[in-house]
Symmetry: C2
Amino acid sequence: MSVTAPRGFRAAGVTAGLKKSGRPDLALVVNDGPLDVAAGVFTTNRVQAAPVLWSRTAVGDGRACAVILNSGGANACTGSGGFLDSHTTAEHVAAVLGVGAADVLVCSTGLIGERLAMPVLLLGVDAAAAALGVTGGPDAAAAICTTDTVPKETVQRGEGWSIGGMAKGAGMLNPALATMLVVLTTDAVLDAGMADAALRHAVEHSFNRLDSDGCMSTNDTVLLLASGAAGASPDAAVFGAALDAACADLARQLIADAEGASHDIAVTVRGATTEGAALAVARAVTSSNLFKAAVFGNDPNWGRVLAAVGTVPVEVAAYEADELDVFMNGVQVCRAGGVGEDRSAVDLSGREVSVVVDLHAGGAEATVWTNDLTHDYVHENSAYST
Amino acid sequence: MSVTAPRGFRAAGVTAGLKKSGRPDLALVVNDGPLDVAAGVFTTNRVQAAPVLWSRTAVGDGRACAVILNSGGANACTGSGGFLDSHTTAEHVAAVLGVGAADVLVCSTGLIGERLAMPVLLLGVDAAAAALGVTGGPDAAAAICTTDTVPKETVQRGEGWSIGGMAKGAGMLNPALATMLVVLTTDAVLDAGMADAALRHAVEHSFNRLDSDGCMSTNDTVLLLASGAAGASPDAAVFGAALDAACADLARQLIADAEGASHDIAVTVRGATTEGAALAVARAVTSSNLFKAAVFGNDPNWGRVLAAVGTVPVEVAAYEADELDVFMNGVQVCRAGGVGEDRSAVDLSGREVSVVVDLHAGGAEATVWTNDLTHDYVHENSAYST
């Protein structure tokens, strides 16, 4: 049920005709209230797509009652005309729903640098509005897919309230093909401040700890809408934990469906002086093409892990190179910066791979997920726009 | 003739038996003087191979009279035993040549995390010493190759003096498979300060502006040896320009032979406030897997260039996203952050690709070279150690 699992929401997913493939490409999520609380987290890329510029402003007052999302075009690097297209889309959705345009958020995903086919999109809005329903979540989740092979949905239940969510893409700071888009809904009673704080925490500990291919999208957007329809007011910590779980669930699904991947790799750095230091070292490993290509080849090449760890400046993460330990799928292949157990004892034939680096410098740790670098990744990303 | 083109040098390249392939794997370069001036630049990776630790110290006094280089094993992440191996190698070379061990520099390249076969290597040293000759440069250049398909050599001539050089690998800050090793020789009369300053400038403007795959080796080493045998004392600026040219020539050869590459890509950023800002933006583009995979597919996907440019923090490089221009092979595919000329006008079928990003923020510029991301890159790097 994803975004329509909580009360107070309707959704739809339709085929507007933006995609050449003829697959669904337009989703609409409506919050029927009584509350219209909303929060958003957006890409930190300085080149921001038109819908990001629009939605960031629109959600700035902590309120929104609808989200329109299209695949089949990112509307990024499209200049003032592209921004007008996002504005026009919001105006049209607002007119159909009888709400204000400033309460309509817009998300787009697809190829950068091309204008959207606006007549097609606006007709699609009409069709989506006509198809809105309280069981429309799965249709919406399917309509936002691009290279995703399966829709990503989650439901988390609290005492008398719930959270629903849908996602597409493969990362937040570092998404794959075009973009990660996430819409979360809840029927809990929240105020805007609580929604914003909970969303930022959940994103930081889930989507911001994915690194599929090191690239950062112009369109990444994570939105939370609260209808208050359950009438229940959960404690902030309780709601936060549920939202964390929802985002973690979606993040794990994104990694599992990353383009061309054959391994999901969890890189955990422990023994760091701070969580930030642990994260920096983990990200150095997850961004190493050499390491990721080795995992694709089922090769426990821990030297490439150490070479990546060594690129982190000392002012970012304290450690001594001759104290580093590395475990791959539980086998300590590197001990004190040198050769440990026989690398042939590491079995990388499964989908999931665990790499643990112990810095022996402190008590903090963090985990970042990534994928291996495969022939299929190169294929998908060399043949995308042409 | 490479390293034996200048007077005062002998070299050899032999097959010690470190490589399973049976190809040459041990090179020796000897400076017969009268000067024994030397300078070195090493990887900034905090995980440093044993030969880097040894050579950095050994060249610290600005003097060296021999360099021993092995392929077939990086001697990195090998602990105190590995350091002893580098020390033993230097001692053995010193004994054979009748010099001090502290004047012998050591370089290694190959798989990380395995000890060298020392008896094999030391017998190879004897063979290399016996084979030393004033025409041995090409043999030495061949013996340091790993996945290189051709040796890399250069000769630059001044008035009565010359510079010779050899290289293996594919980058400096960000080399490919294992390591970049470079040895430069000259018969010009230099002092240690002049040699060090010239080498640092030349490396910064050549090898440090290559980024093949974003990874940084544990073994990168660039050495300059001066024999003074020409008796000529060039002006520092004149010598520096020739050394710059030697390094630029070798760097270009490294990119042209990078693992699995089908395109050599020059990313030039102009209109920057400083050269550092231009470099940071160029490196953001050259490290984008999405951009590099698109070039492999002959796809002028300029949106991926802009998405990469947008990841550079504002405090690192000033620009306005809606003022960015992008040219690919001379075609202005992006104008003022939006759609420019038709991307289909860009022909990427040739080996060399030019990407120019104009930030319109100042007068500084810089160029970084990289390669495309190909099936063969993934293949070579997933099948290396196994």
